[in-house]
């Protein structure tokens, strides 16, 4: 090397790491806010989704089929198990169940990201 190098200021590395950490926290706060809103929205949506699935279970006759297990369980499992299982499966309100499970999934994922980003934004100090 022909050209000599000068030493950077002693605090430069610390400044760079502090800048990166500030940027990490800023990004984490934005993500936490977004995750929080999504978690809240999916929590609120879970109630009508649950109502929807209960309504679906009632109108499809699922409760009536399921109750047969308790009234004529012996007969059903001995002679009509296959037909019973198929009828029970057909009466499951698939659309309502899918919607409810999707809402539940979004709620869990957004809650997980909320916790993760709150930890980064407010609690962690990474570079000492």
């Amino acid at each position: 090397m022909i050209l000599n190098q000068v030493d950077p200021p002693a605090q430069l590395c610390g400044n760079i790491l502090a800048k990166i950490e500030n940027e990490q926290k800023r990004t984490a706060k934005i993500k936490a806010a977004f995750s929080g809103l999504l978690a809240l929205a999916s929590f609120i949506a879970a109630f009508p989704a649950a109502g929807y699935i209960l309504q679906g279970l009632q109108s499809s006759g699922f409760y009536q089929f399921a109750s047969l297990v308790f009234t004529d369980g012996g007969t059903i499992f001995s002679y009509y198990f296959k037909e019973f299982a198929l009828s029970l499966a057909e009466s499951v309100p698939v659309l309502e169940l899918s919607i409810f499970l999707t809402v539940l999934f979004i709620l869990m994922i957004s809650f997980k990201f909320l916790i993760k980003n709150v930890r980064v934004a407010f609690l962690s100090t990474q570079f000492n």
Binding site: M1, I2, L3, N4, Q5, V6, D7, P8, P9, L12, C13, N15, I16, L17, K19, I20, E23, Q126, F127
Partner: protein
């Protein structure tokens, strides 16, 4: 045995946040010196260095391991320096010399008689003189000299950083040395 740059990047992306200071420290001095020699200003060099490593961190996921990390980082440093100097209006179009690779008489002469870079630069009376002369070079010539002699990058790597063909980089290097020789022998 020290980890390679690619290993450090992979470790960081896998969640080992503690390797980031090591990666930064590995290139802080070269990046700072490049920015300092380019701008001639310590504060600007600090600003450029901070911005460079911040951009490096933001774009680590986009870094391709088959590419040289040093080349990738210096591309960011170079673009950051260019943007800062343009914003501060320290750089005007006329500061950047032409892109033509057409040989002038002087260059043809230089080809015939070699241009020993060590000799030219070592003839500078002192470090300050060298810094002053470098500051007088057109911006793009200065970049080539700094990247080659300060940061020990090959012309091929410099071409990738500057986004220029290899012949253009070699031509700028040759012209930079001619210019330095002319400036150093000019009456004071």
């Amino acid at each position: 045995m020290a980890k390679t740059d690619q290993q450090l990047v992979a470790d960081y992306l896998n969640g080992e946040e503690g390797v980031l200071p090591e990666l930064i420290n590995r290139y802080l001095k070269p990046a700072y010196n490049f920015a300092y020699r380019l701008t001639g200003n310590a504060q600007d060099a600090q600003d450029i260095s901070q911005e460079t490593f911040l951009k490096m961190w933001k774009n680590l996921k986009k870094y391709r391991p088959e590419e040289s990390f040093k080349t990738w980082l210096f591309t960011i440093a170079r673009n950051t320096a260019f943007d800062l100097m343009r914003k501060k209006r320290n750089l005007v179009f006329s500061d950047i010399s032409g892109n033509s690779t057409e040989d002038s008489f002087e260059e043809k002469l230089a080809d015939e008689f070699s241009l020993p870079a060590d000799e030219i630069i070592s003839q500078m009376e002192n470090k300050k003189m060298l810094d002053d002369l470098l500051a007088q070079l057109p911006y793009n010539y200065r970049e080539v000299i700094l990247l080659h002699y300060l940061d020990e990058l090959t012309f091929d790597e410099i071409g990738k950083i500057l986004g220029k063909p290899l012949n253009t980089v070699k031509s700028w290097h040759r012209r930079a040395l001619l210019e330095l020789r002319k400036l150093s022998s000019a009456p004071k």
